[in-house]
């Protein structure tokens, strides 16, 4: 077993929330794809897996509720974790996911690095890319939840708002879902896992920890800060068990394969959709 010193990046609660997010996201993606491609054989085949259009819709709705529940749970956890006495430092400090000016500078520096014009940015605990991924959920889930809720209860919605709002809600629901799914597959899955430094799998969200050496390469400012504050020991973690690693490798690759399949088949079959 690997005995190199490791550092904890994600606690059990966050990892479980993330697994719940993966599961609900994939169920919603597959049932939603089946519904969107209803007019094609491929869409029908997907819906048949869930017992047809009606039961796929029901599963889609319940998975949506579950995802919203997980989202609200996460917000509650974040509110609980916030240091309310030192709110400014807690919100805009280096341990926070709130975007700061530094993120824009690092983004520019990274672009310059592509062309060899600058050194790689010395990232803190969260880099701009991770922050964008995190906040994308914050606009995606509420938008999908509210528009989805309107479409589940159209008659009730039409009492509060004009009925044509349902057309707009469906458009937003579909467009945001397409954006989220394609972004997650292309950027989050492929670039997250298949870069040179992360291949074959970026394990940190499952194992929760990363070797100090690896963290020092990716997030040197964070490690330097921890060393300076003598907190490196506090955050030390054990390496994940082999059986657990096997499990999350299988899980991770299953999700990536499913995502790739949906992306390619969805792109191909999109020419046969004629609904508006």
């Amino acid at each position: 077993m690997d005995t190199a010193p490791r550092i904890r990046r994600f606690g059990v609660l966050d990892r479980l929330t993330h697994v719940l997010l993966i599961l609900t996201f994939m169920v919603l993606t597959v049932t939603g794809t089946g519904r969107m491609y209803f007019a094609t054989d491929w869409g029908q085949a997907i819906l048949d897996l869930f017992g047809g259009y009606d039961s796929a819709t029901l599963i889609h709705i319940w998975a949506g509720w579950l995802m919203t529940g997980g989202f609200l749970f996460h917000i509650a956890v974040v509110l609980f974790r916030l240091d309310w006495r030192h709110l400014g430092r807690s919100l805009f400090g280096p341990d926070s996911l709130v975007p700061t000016w530094r993120d824009f500078k690092e983004f520019g520096q990274r672009i310059a690095w592509f062309f060899g014009l600058a050194k790689l940015p010395r990232f803190e605990r969260w880099n701009y890319w991770e922050k964008f991924d995190y906040w994308a959920v914050f606009w995606g889930v509420p938008l999908l939840f509210i528009s989805g809720l309107m479409l589940i209860y159209p008659v009730e919605t039409s009492r509060l708002l004009p009925g044509w709002v349902l057309n707009v809600a469906l458009l937003f629901h579909r467009a945001e879902a397409v954006l989220a799914v394609t972004y997650i597959i292309i950027v989050h899955l492929l670039i997250g896992h298949f870069r040179r430094s992360t291949f074959p799998l970026n394990e940190v969200m499952f194992s929760g920890s990363v070797s100090v050496e690896e963290a020092g390469e990716e997030k040197s400012d964070w490690i330097n800060r921890l060393k300076r504050e003598n907190r490196l020991e506090q955050l030390s973690a054990r390496a994940p068990a082999t059986l657990y690693r096997v499990l999350y490798f299988i899980f991770g690759y299953a999700v990536i394969a499913l995502g790739l399949y949906l992306l390619i088949a969805g792109g191909y079959y999109s020419q046969f959709i004629n609904i508006h």
């Binding site: 159209p154 008659v155 039409s158 349902l166 057309n167 467009a175 972004y183 870069r195 508006h276």
Partner: protein, 215 residues
């Protein structure tokens, strides 16, 4: 050859001439038999010939300006009690033979509805016509509520035959949909315009790193 033309004219001419009167008569007899015919001639003229804004009696016909022979015909049909009156070979055709794109909506494709389930049996009045079951004054009760229990007039403003959201037609007829579509389109394009080159650049660049950055 001339005989054939004459024959065609004889076949077509009476049909075109009588059709309008025919459908109006049909309604007149039905209404008279039911004893619901209005006493005032003005209202009857209105009912037979004009499109309704949905608020009949108070405000009425839309100001329809035809731009050419095709539009004239379409506008005239939009005001008829029998929208298909006088169309040749009408009874042998399917709705989608002419209204091809109208079947590409969620009610038809997903809920497997037929045209007649909403538009009703012959004669099919124009949607805005006083007689039509799809007239906004009664659409929610006569059509929507058959499946969507509790549907009100607001619910009935859901656009079943939605224009393509990115089309100029949508921009004119349904601006909220058009601009929502533009917003989401540019959001998607913007996100990928930043993150695809970023990801590809990152992916390629990492292969050229020889040294590890200093800690």
């Amino acid at each position: 050859m001339r005989v054939a033309w004459l024959f065609a004219l004889v076949l077509l001419a009476p049909q075109l001439a009588w059709a309008q009167q025919y459908s109006a008569d049909r309604y007149a007899t039905t209404n008279a038999a039911a004893g619901t015919d209005d006493a005032t001639a003005a209202v009857r003229r209105y009912r037979d010939q004009l499109a309704s804004s949905g608020y009949y009696e108070t405000s009425d016909a839309r100001n329809m300006l035809p731009y050419g022979p095709t539009e004239t015909d379409a506008y005239r049909r939009a005001a008829q009690a029998d929208a298909h009156a006088g169309l040749g070979d009408y009874s042998h055709r399917k709705c989608v033979a002419c209204h091809e794109q109208s079947a590409a909506n969620l009610h038809t494709i997903r809920a497997n509805n037929t045209c007649r389930q909403c538009h009703g049996p012959e004669p099919i009045a124009s949607v805005t016509h006083y007689f039509s079951r799809l007239n906004p004054v009664r659409r929610h009760a006569y059509v929507c509520a058959k499946c969507h229990e509790g549907a009100g007039a607001s619910f009935a403003s859901y656009v079943v035959h939605e224009p393509l959201p990115s089309s100029s037609e949508a921009r004119m007829a349904f601006p909220a949909l058009f601009y929502s579509d533009r917003l989401m389109f540019w959001l998607i394009v913007g996100v990928f315009l930043i993150f695809i080159p970023h990801s590809v650049g990152w992916w390629i660049r990492e292969w050229f790193v020889k040294k590890k950055p200093e800690v």
